[in-house]
């Protein structure tokens, strides 16, 4: 499930990671890869997308929300907090355990409150994204024999 590109680490990455500020002329691609490598990128993006997808399927007018009351409000609250969780996974990866557990619970809740989890699509994205974020660990050895990495042919 891991993004193969994430594992591609050209020489520039090591420098960028070790001392990013000292290399302002670092190639943009290398910095981008290094940035992704320091956070559960795929998981955070998927959780954000899941929340956005669920939000996009429900845009009830304000009058209708007021009519339904608290339950109608929770239909919106859950995907909004999912988007927040996804962004925090990306920008505050240190707290990823809390955010990923919160987002998996919210994703499950969205099945009941928010159009069957954005008609199933948001539910799937959210579950996969939460699990990827939960399973992400920083500072992994670059080569794992269990999954072959693509050779850094792109750089």
């Amino acid at each position: 499930m891991t993004d193969p590109d994430q594992a591609v680490t050209p020489d520039a990455d090591a420098d960028a990671q070790a001392d990013e500020s000292a290399h302002p002329a670092e190639p943009g691609v290398g910095r981008w890869r290094a940035w992704r490598g320091r956070r559960p990128f795929a998981g955070g993006v998927l959780v954000t997308l899941a929340g956005a997808e669920i939000l996009a399927t429900e845009k009830a007018s304000f009058g209708v929300i007021v009519h339904i009351g608290m339950q109608g409000l929770s239909g919106y609250l859950i995907p909004v907090v999912m988007v927040v969780c996804g962004l925090l996974l990306l920008f505050n990866p240190a707290q990823r355990l809390f955010y990923s557990i919160l987002s998996v619970l919210l994703t499950l809740g969205s099945w009941v409150t928010s159009n069957l989890g954005g008609f199933f699509i948001g539910l799937l994205l959210g579950l996969v994204g939460s699990c990827l974020s939960f399973g992400w660990l920083p500072d992994q050895a670059p080569r794992r024999r269990r999954w072959g990495r693509r050779a850094p042919s792109t750089s």
Binding site: R36, S61, L116, D139
Partner: protein, 207 residues
């Protein structure tokens, strides 16, 4: 400099450890499966609020208690291209049914090319919906009302638990029965549905 301590070939980045991800994936998948099964048994109600995407509901029969219908005004966003010479306002009809049961329910949502079709209530237990509110819709079918009051002030309605704006024309009825219901709409639908016999599929054509 710093790269001496970390040789380039062994640069360390974060990655997903499958075994660790599985710790969450297992229980999460199980919980999702339980939710789907409970919904399909009608044990828990799923809540819908849909707007802006084409959405169709059909049912063989709808029986409702506490029916209200009244007009309203929806405001478009400022500068909306759809505003035309309407001044950005559109008259909508709000229909509210407090409690409804539907047999052979079919809902389809157009997700841009592919339709997601939800079927439920085809067995012995019908679908039940609570606080079914439809904002600006096309409803067709053979309707029958009991104790209908036409022309009341929407703010004085008592049969449902919804109240319209004061001075608004509307109608209310104790019960409503609609056979061969077909409702197509691009506006708002909101309700809490119990969906026994839930069947969810993606198809090219909707209901």
């Amino acid at each position: 400099m710093a790269s001496n301590s970390v040789p380039p070939t062994t640069a360390r980045v974060g990655r997903v450890r499958l075994r660790r991800a599985a710790i969450m994936a297992g229980p999460a998948a199980a919980a999702a499966a339980v939710l789907v099964v409970l919904t399909a048994q009608g044990a828990i109600a799923a809540q819908f609020s849909i707007s802006g995407i084409p959405f169709t509901v059909t049912a063989k029969q709808l029986q409702g208690n506490g029916f209200e219908q009244y007009g309203g005004l929806d405001n478009m966003a400022d500068g909306s291209p759809n505003a035309g010479d309407s001044g950005g306002q559109e008259v909508v009809v709000v229909s509210a049914i407090k409690d409804a049961t539907l047999t052979d329910l079919c809902q389809s949502v157009n997700l841009g090319g592919i339709n997601m079709v939800i079927r439920a209530g085809t067995g012995s237990t019908p679908v039940s919906a609570h606080d079914l509110v439809t904002d600006s819709s096309v409803i067709s079918g053979d309707a029958g009302f009991k104790n209908i009051e036409i022309g009341g002030d929407a703010s004085t309605f008592t049969k449902g638990d919804s109240k319209g704006p004061s001075g608004d024309f509307g109608q209310q009825a104790d019960t409503v029965t609609i056979d061969n219901l077909r409702q197509t709409n691009y506006a708002t639908t909101a309700a809490t549905f119990k969906l026994p016999g839930l069947h969810l599929s993606f198809k090219n054509d909707g209901c």
